[in-house]
Structures are given as C-alpha cells and as structure tokens.
C-alpha cells in the first residue's frame, strides 16, 4: 500500500512541477505550484513528519502562494502569454537539467539501498546525534517519547535536558529560533521601506512653489541705510 501512495504523490508532484515551468499563464503556474506543495505534504506524511506537512500546507501552499497570486494579479503579465519560445535556449537548459539529473541518478545508483526503519523511534537501539552514539537506555527514556511535533518542540524550545538525558547529548535550537524571528522583523521593515512610495508634491502645491518669487538677497546699501536710521 505504501509504495502505491509514494508513487502517486511523487509522480503527481513532478507533473505539477513540470506544469509550473511550462505553463504560459502565471496564475495557472501558481495553482500548479500549490498542488505540487500539497503532494509534497503527502510525502511528508508518509515520512511521518506530520507537523511539517501541516506547516507546509499552511505556510507554503497558503501564505506564500497567496502572496504570489496577489503580485501576479497586481502586475500586468499578459505580454508573457504571447512571448515566443526560444527553442535553442530551451533545449540547452533542458540538457543542463537532464545532465544534473543523470549526475544525481548515477550517484544514487552507487549507494546501498536503505530500507525504511520501523515507525516507532523507541524500538531503535541506538540514536546518533552529531556523530555521538547515545546509549540504549537514553534513547528509550523520555526524550524519545511523544510524536514528531513534541520532539520538534523539545529541540526548538528546551533549555535544559530532560530527565534521563545528559548535557552531552542535549541539543537545543532556541538561539537560531530567536534569530529567525529577528530575521522576519528585518524582512518586514525592508518590505515597508521598499514598497513605500516617494512622497510627491501635489500639482497645485508645486505651482504655488514655482509662482513664489525666489528670496531676494538683501542689498548691502539698503542694509547700511537701515542701520543708519
């Protein structure tokens, strides 16, 4: 059953990705991209990454694609639909992409096939973290219990090791997480600065400015006369 779903999801994803590249209509491209992301979320579910599947649909298929669609509708892309195809350039880039794919396939063919491990993380005898092998009793302790959301949350937010876990095997991504929030803040400010329209003087205001006589510099004799009186 699982291979069937794997092939359905991956072939659907790749067909949608091809449609993104080949479609002339930008809105249709964006929709195909959304479908490809949904298929990829299915693959994530098959890899038992449920939290990331949800995040993928919410953030990438939801927020990012809505942003793309907004911009596509804001800009006038009708010229793109009638642009001529450059067959030579197309063949060249296709050849390059195929060469890349052949490189990947050749590399993968030399690797030994790695079967999917059992779904339960606790049944695994050893867990390796950054090259360090952790004992069996640690891997079966509290740190490995819970679903993937729980475990990602522990890795992201934990500030001290769980009971039964040593400081050596403890990793936390609190600092990168905070830096990411800073990055989003900087991106927000950058977008506002980029999209801010230059404030132009209004037409009648500009006329007033031009009608006004330039300020006359005080003449020396006048000033001396004023000083005398």
């Amino acid at each position: 059953m699982q291979p069937l779903f794997f092939w359905i999801f991956s072939i659907g994803m790749i067909l949608c990705a091809l449609a993104v590249v080949f479609n002339r209509n930008a809105v249709a491209s964006a929709l195909c991209f959304t479908f490809a992301i949904c298929f990829m979320a299915g693959l994530f579910v098959m890899l038992s990454a449920f939290f990331l599947a949800a995040v993928q649909i919410l953030v990438t298929a939801g927020a990012v694609m809505v942003l793309f669609l907004f911009i596509i509708m804001l800009l006038d892309l009708s010229a793109m639909e009638h642009a001529p195809r450059h067959w030579i350039w197309m063949a060249f880039s296709g050849l390059l992409a195929l060469a890349f794919l052949a490189l990947i396939g050749k590399t993968l063919a030399t690797l030994p096939a790695m079967a999917e491990p059992p779904a339960s993380y606790q049944s695994q005898a050893q867990v390796t973290a950054f090259g360090k092998t952790v004992d069996q009793n640690i891997s079966q302790s509290r740190i490995d219990k819970g679903d993937d959301t729980h475990r990602i949350g522990r890795l992201l937010f934990a500030t001290k090791p769980a009971p039964g876990e040593t400081w050596e095997s403890f990793t936390s991504y609190v600092a990168p997480f905070e830096i990411t929030s800073l990055l989003i803040l900087v991106a927000t400010i950058g977008i506002i600065v980029l999209c801010k329209q230059e404030e132009r003087p209004r037409p009648h205001h500009r006329e007033e400015i031009s009608r006004e006589a330039p300020p006359v510099p005080p003449v020396r004799e006048d000033r001396e006369a004023a000083l005398k009186t």
Partner: protein, 101 residues
Amino acid sequence: MQITLNDYLFVAGTLFAIGLFGVLMRRNLLIIYMSLEMMLQAANLTFVAFSRFNHHMEGQVFVFFVITVAAAEVAVGLALIVALYRLKQTTTVRDLTKLKF
C-alpha cells in the same frame, strides 16, 4: 517492493532539476522565482527523508527554519519585483540590462 531512501532522494533530485530548468528557461521574473522556491522545497524533501531514515529529528527542525526563511525571502523578493515593475513596467529579465557589461 519497499520504498528506500534512494527513491525519495531521486524524487527530490528530479524536483530540483525541474526547478533548475525553470530558472534557466523562463524569462519572467515571477516564474523564475517560483522555480527557485521549488528548488528550496526539493532540499526540504531531502532533509525530511534523511531525518526519517537516520532517526534524526534535527533534519525536521532545519526544514522548519528553511520554510520560515523561505517565506520571509519570498516576501522581500516580491517587494523587489513590484519596485522593479514600478520603475520599468516590465518583469522580463530580457529588459533588465542595466548591469550588462
């Protein structure tokens, strides 16, 4: 037939190659940007596959970061495209030759 790690890696590689093809072939900035996003997603799939098959949770945490940074990057990039469109009234890379030597 068991699905192995290599199958996932090959699918991710195919997606990356399609994204590369799109970046090279298309002339429209928005489509190029979508293809770039597709290449990022291919890297995400690789991360998750390795995370599952090696019993690491770190891979999924990294995918979490990649999705966050990609969302911020898309927002900034689209703002740049809009600013460019205001300036030049075009989104075709053919017309953007200011830096051409």
